[in-house]
């Protein structure tokens, strides 16, 4: 009996995120004009997976008590790059994909290197590197354009077995292949340790630098996957500042909704995925309820406010006010 109790308390944040998403999606699908159909699920999934990839990236960094404000710009950069090189024959396309993913990885490694060896705070570092990555994106695509290998694009944005949206499958694969091994590895555990208490992690001999570096690198990789998928959806590359910014900010929201603590040390990228899915679904609820799209930004903002205030309810139970402070 106690075993289950421990498992529950470990996964609490993620389970809550799944619950919120399930509830939101239920409301969404039952009120959708087209009803619950594979098409509807596919469209919804395609829009949400982009944010989900970026949310995974952010979660991995936030766990180390860091933050990556450049994830949206890495997505933009890789999107623009993909619109140049993920084209042509199968081999060329494959190389292009590798190139795009490699670029994302490199961006992440640069972030990690500056934070670790430059000993700069992540928030300022990633603001600056984000600007740099955006600059490169703008250089690649001063105007929207380009193309992408459409066979690949359609395959990855279509449906598997006619039912399962391929983008969701890709998301699941990414989680399985990247997050699960990482979180169970020595380096992954060291990441949790670093976020929880860097001093204690140092005294215990945990590989702090390797953990942080890996975290930022993986974040870059996952953002690049997101950028790739954006190219698959839109067939173009566009250096849109506003949308890149939005991905970064919403990834933070998704991470919070997904039960990952901004202080570090706690949470799971899987929770962040559901947080992203929930966030997107909430945003789309407006469309479903046929409200004026003019109200959408306000609606999203209010939902965000409510979501982040949920944690405040726990305050009522706090009896020792010293617990307010970390």
């Amino acid at each position: 009996m106690t075993e289950w109790r421990y498992w529950f308390s470990e996964q609490r944040g993620t389970l809550l995120a799944i619950g919120i998403f399930a509830a939101m999606f239920l409301i969404y699908s039952t009120n959708h004009p087209a009803g619950f159909s594979v098409n509807m699920v596919q469209t919804a999934a395609n829009k949400a997976t982009l944010l989900a990839f970026v949310a995974m990236a952010q979660a991995i960094v936030v766990i180390t008590a860091g933050i990556d404000l450049s994830v949206g710009m890495i997505l933009t950069l890789t999107n623009c790059l993909a619109s140049w090189i993920v084209v042509g024959t199968a081999t060329e396309t494959a190389l292009g994909v590798i190139g795009v993913l490699g670029t994302g990885l490199l961006c992440g490694m640069i972030n990690g290197a500056v934070v670790i060896f430059g000993r700069l705070q992540p928030i300022v570092t990633t603001i600056a590197t984000g600007a740099m990555y955006y600059g490169i994106a703008l250089f690649l695509r001063p105007n929207p354009g380009g193309s992408v290998n459409e066979t690949l694009a359609d395959a990855l944005t279509g449906r598997l077995f006619g039912v399962l949206p391929t983008s969701l499958v890709a998301l699941a694969v990414a989680a399985l292949v990247i997050w699960v091994p990482y979180s169970r590895s020595v380096v992954g555990r060291a990441a949790f340790a670093t976020g929880s208490s860097e001093v204690a992690a140092y005294m215990s001999g945990a590989p702090i630098r390797a953990a942080k570096f890996t975290a930022y690198a993986l974040a870059g990789l996952l953002s690049a996957i997101g950028g790739l998928f954006l190219t698959f959806f839109s067939y173009t590359g566009e250096a849109a500042y506003a949308s890149g910014n939005a991905y970064t900010l919403f990834s933070i929201a998704a991470v919070v909704l997904g039960g990952v603590s901004l202080m570090g040390g706690r949470g799971s990228a899987i929770g962040a995925i559901f947080g992203a899915l929930a966030f997107r679904t909430i945003g789309d609820l407006l469309f479903v309820f046929d409200l004026d799209p003019l109200w959408q930004p306000l609606f999203q903002g209010i939902v965000l406010m409510l979501a982040v205030s949920i944690g405040a309810f726990g305050l009522v139970r706090v009896r020792n006010r010293l617990e307010w402070f970390g």
Partner: protein
Amino acid sequence: MSEATASRSIPRGIAMLRRLDPAVAASFGCILLLLLLGSLYSRSFLSPEYLLQQLKVASFLGVIATGMMLVILLGQIDLSVPWVVTTGAMMACAAAGHGTTGAIIAIPWGILCGVAIGLVNGIGVAYLRIPSMIITLATNAVAQGLMVAYTGGFSPQDAASKAMRYLATGNVVPSLPNAVLVWAVIGGAAIWILSRTTFGRAIYAIGNRERAAYLSGIDTRRVTMLAFALSGGLSAFGGVLLAGYASKAAQSMGDAYLLPSIAAVVLGGTHILGGRGSYLGTVAGVVLITLLQSILSVMQISEAGRQLIYGAVIILMLLIYGRQKA
């Protein structure tokens, strides 16, 4: 055994110099360097007209960065700057369109809107213990939603009031732009508040160790809430000035001020985790960023190049003197 010595009375000027933060000195050094570089490119760079023009442009950022500095000193962050700036501008212009009473209350009304948003941030952080990064993101989204709904999605049509335009572009003192005077007054008030009032000292205490400040009987919640309210008011005031400068408000006018305001505060030596920093440093940081942006545009470097250089320079400067202790 007791060699307790009272604080000797050293001449105040020398004491100040001795306490000068190396980061502040480095910032001023970089400003000189930039001026030198600019003058190599074009002789008019060192002309008083150009320098005053730069100071005027810097004033807008300076007002906004003042609010940001208060919040960062607390150990928090204010990501609602973009839309608080825009709200201040739009609301002030909206009031200005309502006849003479409107014109009179335009500026205070704009500032008040900012204070209100700041209060929401402050209550969320101080009383509901929501991390500042996330609550300010949420209020930013809500403010955006409100403004989008208000303008119906179009650009705002209201014009700025005469007073607003005079504040931003007029000259009470011949050849000294009013905006610079305004910044000087606000800056002076900030310095006085931070060093001579219990409110200011409490901000430093809270930023250093909130738990100890609380146990010392400082009303940490009220101080935090007020600091955010001030930040909101100052951001909105910055928006009011900007609207006066351009004679009207515009959508997304605040976007360009978030990252620079954070960068300016941090480059000026204020520790991103709070508790340490002087306003003089923020002044240096603001001038530095303004000069940098100006040089980049004078050299007619493309937007892509500008972003790249902007980010790289910030990292470089931080690497030189903004590092944490190991």
